[in-house]
Symmetry: C2
Subunit: 201 residues, 2 copies
DNA sequence: GTCTATATGACGATAGAC
DNA sequence: GTCTATCGTCATATAGAC
């Protein structure tokens, strides 16, 4: 029992987990009591751990970026050094899809409430998120420079369209449905890189 | 001045326009006073035109589907009868992109609050939206049947990924920026059908 | 049709007991 | 650390004036 996280830290984590699910489902204006209840505490007790609603939202948004980024980077870095820039991009797209679909409820919540937060929080978050966007953008850029992408592709627009297709899966993907998340991720990779059209023979 | 819409109809339209913007920005739980104000009326006056918040939400969701669908269908139907199934799909993707980007704030609002509405409204809306999804799905299916798409493409997943990439443009596209909406739409069509990868020579 | 005024009830946040 | 109690604020919806 050595090294166990403090009671406070464990409660804080339960609150954040609940907040990710509830904010993701109901939006930024979700009621705090709906977060406190699944976390197993009373509404008033939230204020021992967080200053107010926006403090809680800020943390969920930050974790949304960080958990996704950590997952994507670990997958990309796990590739052998012989991997090409297009291999790395492929791995990143798949990892991002999996992060949003199944790995992190924070990524899911982030996708759905980032645009709803008040201006101050939104700006702070966008600055943080942009650093991750730059990371993905650099992978697209490298593949572009190496001639793996069509010359006329605009790396910025392509990056945004790819991340958009993946973020949007939160709106229709049913985790309890019949389509495995891995299939969606594979489809996203394939569609992004090769398109869905049958190439001329 | 003949045939002018009644005062009531014009006010109702101002309310709906404001509701689309506010619900789209703040989410389903946005305050009604924030809708009444830009519509130029008092909060209480909303209730002459709509039964309650959910009645208003329901109408915004419906218009989100209908305005997009009408725009897409008119573009597809404008094609010459000699157009192939892949031509029709291409036109639909482009028209959907333009509807979301510049034609209809309702399409934007719909995308962002559909997942937040209470179960009853959500179910009703999903049934309505599914009919539009079926329309797009039929275009994908026809192209698939005609051998224009790779055999292994799942028409449903592909449809959702395409619509997602387009819907998400609302999160990053800047109508006052340097990138024309038409360019984004063209990029989306190209990426969807042909991918961004350079095909093997 | 739209306004003002209001009842009713919720929610966020604080203070103090334990 | 968490609870209970409570204050102040705000939003929804209604009623009746104009």
């Amino acid at each position: 029992m050595v090294e166990k996280r403090s009671k406070s830290e464990r409660t804080r984590e339960r609150i954040l987990d609940a907040a990710a699910v509830v904010f993701g489902g109901q939006g930024y204006l979700a009621r705090l009591v709906d977060i406190a209840e699944p976390a197993g505490i009373q509404t008033g007790s939230l204020y021992y751990h967080f200053k107010n609603r926006d403090d809680l939202v800020r943390e969920v948004l930050r974790l949304g970026v960080d958990t996704t980024w950590a997952h994507v980077r670990s997958e990309v870095d796990a590739l052998p050094s012989s991997a090409s820039s297009i291999d790395r991009l492929r791995a990143a797209i798949r990892a991002h899809a999996m992060a949003v679909l199944v790995v992190s409820p924070y990524a899911w919540a982030r996708a759905r409430i980032a645009g709803q937060a008040p201006a101050a929080i939104g700006a702070e978050h966008r600055a943080h998120h942009a650093r991750y966007g730059d990371y993905i953008g650099s992978l697209v850029h490298d593949a572009h420079s190496d001639g793996h992408l069509r010359a006329e592709v605009d790396p910025y627009v392509a990056t945004m369209l790819v991340l958009g297709a993946l973020s949007w899966t939160t709106e229709w993907f049913d985790a309890n449905g019949t389509i495995p998340a891995g299939d969606v991720a594979d489809h996203a990779v394939r569609m992004t890189l090769d398109g869905i059209a049958q190439p001329p023979a």
